[in-house]
Point group: C2
Chain length 123, copies 2
């Protein structure tokens, strides 16, 4: 679901840049990774509470892709009611400098007025 982007990474050294972008791109992956770096472990519905606008379909989707890319781990507990925990793999955790660089730049250059970045859906 993460935009097909490039079949071939035909951009010479720029490839590396594109390659990471391909992993992080996806409507909600940035936020998901960010939250996982902060919280360590999150359950499905915990994500939904953190990001009220994401639909279950999309959340599943993004998490599955991140898992397929080896960035997040998915642990299912054989319980009823079900319990599934999402966390960062080692590879995922290694993205920290990247996420940090993104956050640092955003904080410095984006000037999100506080109040626009509320957790509430503010419908």
């Amino acid at each position: 679901m993460a935009r097909v982007r490039h079949k071939r990474l035909d951009c010479s050294p720029g490839c590396a840049v594109e390659g990471v972008l391909q992993l992080v791109d996806g409507k909600w992956k940035g936020v998901i990774l960010y939250h996982l770096l902060e919280q360590d472990v999150l359950r499905f519905n915990a994500f939904r509470r953190l990001m009220p606008n994401v639909t279950a379909r999309m959340l599943t989707n993004q998490l599955r892709e991140l898992e397929a890319d080896g960035l997040v781990t998915r642990t299912v507990y054989a319980q009823v009611p079900p319990k599934v925990e999402y966390g960062l793999s080692e590879r995922g955790r290694s993205l920290e400098p990247v996420i940090t660089a993104l956050k640092r730049w955003g904080d410095a250059h984006l000037e999100l007025s506080p109040g626009e970045d509320s957790l509430s859906d503010a419908a």
Copy 2:
């Protein structure tokens, strides 16, 4: 053209991360920015030669969006044949740590087999 992503950045502190992603995301923006950091100034067709798979339509599009976001500058010389130069604005140049972080991670974790990242279209 850069995927609508989120109307509201309702992800609390993660917003900053998403915000930057919104600027860098776009099928070719990562590579464009990377090349501009390396080369300083590039002309339209120079980009096309560096990225043989991008169509004129898309290239125009990505450059225009980057320009609208204040990351690249576009200088038109009143000549015939036309000459248009693209470069980084100060804001664009400030993205360097971000691009660098992306590239560093990509180089370390992606293992692009050399030969797959050729400049040629290798049709």
